[in-house]
């Protein structure tokens, strides 16, 4: 089987396709991944997004060869690598913990993979990779002498220098503070376009996934819920999980009461909500529709009914939180769960106050209809902690910050 794998001695000219066929991974007592099919085209920046325990890290470890699938095949660049070991695969990982070798200098860390493959000018290539992440000046230091952000860049250089057909990133930015995180996001994008590798980025941070990836797959309970361009996922979520995990959504469930050629109308506690047919997954029975909070407009007076506008109200504002660019309102609407609205702070006079009576309206074409029942608790999954991964990251971050401040 090993001769069918891509020889690790060859540098990848460009990224390779990754194909997962019917991958299932069972651990004693639970199924982490259930019959997963996934194709990632060469050269793309693909993000696997999901909450804790959704199977995304397991998927990554399966691709890296650190776990064996219970069932299914893994193909890289068209070649079956399922039965090969991690060290035989043309894949490199940027580990969440960085996993830099503490007993080696930075340059030894970066040259490690090259030396294992018997590359002649390993030192020169390693220095070039360090220059790429602007850390060549620390090449003779030990990892413990570097800040968290620097270690992260070394980990990246150590993986990229091997020119793997596929680069796996396991929440690599989890331990960084906001500013560094932004810098690294830009740097990662630059490197990806520069070296043309296929990137597979695993994260629970929806913002990170959306800003960096060409394609995002939202994963939940071992399955991919929806896959597509970030904008597509955001504007037209197909499941309640995607609607609430990727940004926030206001969801309404009701019977379809009427339909015409372009749209269907749903009765939500007496209020009609119109959704275009091409934006609704189902057109009959009980369906769940939703709208993004920033699409909704608040008015202090009753809104005149007009075709193509959904109107709800009156409701009462129960919470106002000002965040500079926008203000978030929570509105209690009789018969509905609390509705969230974001309003841009374009004019001071339009600020509403806690307890104000308001009407809500939005253009019907912003409504989306879900394929599943909207029984997901409103915004519960959004902030579910990725315990095993984030807690490590947080601890590591605290440790690194302490080191930084000492140094």
């Amino acid at each position: 089987m090993s001769n069918s794998a891509v020889s690790p001695r060859e540098f990848a000219e460009a990224g390779a396709d990754l194909e997962l066929v019917g991958i299932t991974k069972r651990f004693p007592g639970f199924t982490a991944i259930d019959d997963l099919d996934l194709t990632i085209p060469a050269g793309s920046f693909f993000a696997l997004l999901g909450p804790s325990g959704c199977g995304k890290t397991t998927t990554l470890r399966l691709i890296a060869g650190l776990e064996e699938p219970t069932d299914g095949r893994i193909l890289i660049g068209g070649k079956d690598v399922t039965d090969t070991k991690a060290y035989q695969r043309p894949v490199n990982t940027v580990f969440q913990s960085y996993a830099l070798f503490p007993h080696m200098t930075i340059i030894e860390n970066v040259a490690f993979g090259l030396k294992r493959r018997g590359v002649k000018d390993a030192q020169k290539l390693a220095h070039a990779a360090l220059q790429l992440v602007e850390l060549d000046h620390v090449s003779s230091r030990r990892p413990s002498q570097l800040s968290g952000g620097q270690q992260q860049r070394v980990a990246l250089a150590r993986a990229v220098v091997n020119r793997p057909a596929l680069l796996l990133l396991d929440e690599p930015l989890g331990a960084l503070d906001l500013k560094l995180r932004r810098q690294m996001q830009v740097e990662l994008k630059d490197i990806q376009s520069e070296v043309g590798l296929t990137f597979l980025h695993v994260t629970h941070d929806q913002e990170e996934a959306m800003t960096m990836a060409d394609t995002v797959a939202v994963m939940n309970k071992g399955k991919i819920e929806q896959m597509g361009a970030p904008q597509e996922l955001y504007e037209l979520p197909r499941t309640a999980f995607v609607a609430t995990f990727l940004g926030q959504s206001n969801l309404f469930t009701g019977e379809v009461v009427s339909s015409n050629a372009e749209s269907v109308t749903v009765d939500s506690q007496g209020a009609p909500i119109v959704v275009p047919k091409d934006r609704a997954a189902r057109h009959s029975g009980t369906i769940t529709v939703g709208v993004r909070p920033e699409k909704v407009t608040l008015s202090t007076g009753a809104v005149a009914e007009s075709a193509g506008t959904n109107i709800l109200g009156p409701g009462r504002i129960t919470d106002v939180s000002f965040s500079g660019v926008s203000t978030q309102y929570e509105i209690a609407l009789p018969g509905h769960s609390t509705i969230t609205v974001f309003e841009q702070n374009t004019s001071i006079s339009r600020m509403h106050r806690d307890g104000d009576e308001v009407w809500l309206s939005w253009s019907a074409e912003h409504t989306f209809g879900l394929a599943d029942e909207g029984d997901v608790e409103h915004d519960a999954p959004r902030f579910v902690d990725d315990t095993p991964t984030t807690s490590i990251a947080t601890r590591r971050r605290a440790q690194l910050k302490a080191e930084l401040e000492e140094g």
Partner: protein
């Protein structure tokens, strides 16, 4: 963020307090007194004894203080073989203890990591021999290796051992005894380093094209080096001075006498205290030099 900043600041306060406070010195006092009383004093006494000379016309075993440095020449000429043998045996025993102790420590610290109960049990088994006296255990091996014993019988049967030859009293049995007695001292420090070895580093090695053997050589072993060094020191130093295993009463014979055996004989039998003291000083000096070279050569000062 504020929290980490606070804890870091607190640490700094601690450090500066440590530098200034006279309380630290006061707390050191018992330790310093202990060292002066039980280490410095005997050491000086030993050096003085090693320079003594016999009282002319005095009793057997009667000495007076002098600067008789010829004692050193005498012991080196007389017992050079035993000294060399001691370091050779100790080196062999350390090597064998390492070859047995490392896989054992690896098994307990890494393979059994997912089974804490089994891990604790295995550790108890490593330590268990300490519950029985060192002398008894060594005597037990003498029984096992005895001429009519099972091992000698088997060795005779397969022709490893000629008729009438014995296992005890040979270099083999002494090195065996030393190895056996010091395996826990080798295993425990190595276990301590392997037990907290970050397995993600091993995975990272595999991810970077290193096969399992290379990962072991380039990642696991260097990270276990502090344990290996402490283990070998804990084995080599006491083994070089050991006088039980090599003694005729246990696993040795006159042909296997080590420096510890001759020190014992000079102190207790021959009552040549200056020679025994000189031998002790030589032993100490050689160990000091060997250990210094070893620690320096292994280049892990920053890991220790």
């Amino acid at each position: 963020m504020a929290f980490t900043a606070f804890s870091a600041a607190e640490q700094k306060v601690d450090e500066s307090a440590r530098k200034r406070s006279p309380i630290a010195l006061f707390l050191l006092l018992p330790g310093v007194l202990f060292l002066v009383l039980f280490f410095v004093t005997p050491l000086i006494s030993l050096v003085l004894t090693s320079l003594q000379e016999p009282v002319p016309g005095g009793f057997f075993g009667e000495y007076r203080q002098a600067l008789n440095w010829q004692n050193y020449v005498f012991v080196l000429e007389t017992y050079g073989v035993q000294a060399a043998r001691a370091f050779g045996y100790a080196a062999l025993a350390s090597l064998f203890a390492l070859l047995i102790g490392f896989p054992l420590a690896y098994f307990i610290g890494i393979t059994l990591r997912r089974f804490p109960l089994l891990q604790a049990l295995a550790l108890v088994l490593v330590i268990a021999p300490f519950f029985i006296s060192f002398l008894l255990r060594t005597l037990a091996w003498k029984q096992i290796f005895a001429i009519e014993g099972p091992v000698a019988g088997l060795a005779n049967a397969i022709g490893l051992l000629g008729p009438g030859e014995s296992i005890t009293g040979t270099a083999f049995s002494v090195v065996f005894g030393l190895t056996y007695n010091f395996i826990p001292f080798m295993t425990l420090p190595i276990y301590a380093t392997l037990e907290r070895l970050d397995l993600r580093l091993v995975e990272a090695g595999g991810d970077l094209y290193a096969n399992p053997a290379t990962v072991f050589r380039t990642v696991t072993l260097p990270l276990a080096a502090p344990g290996v060094i402490s283990g070998t020191l804990l084995t080599f130093i006491p083994a070089s001075g050991d006088y039980i295993n090599a003694s005729r009463d246990f696993l040795g014979s006159t042909e296997t006498a080590m420096i510890g055996t001759v020190i014992e004989a000079n102190f207790l039998v021959l009552q040549n205290y200056p020679a025994a003291a000189a031998l002790s000083i030589v032993l100490m000096a050689v160990i000091l030099v060997l250990v210094a070279i070893y620690v320096k050569r292994s280049g892990t000062e920053d890991l220790l």
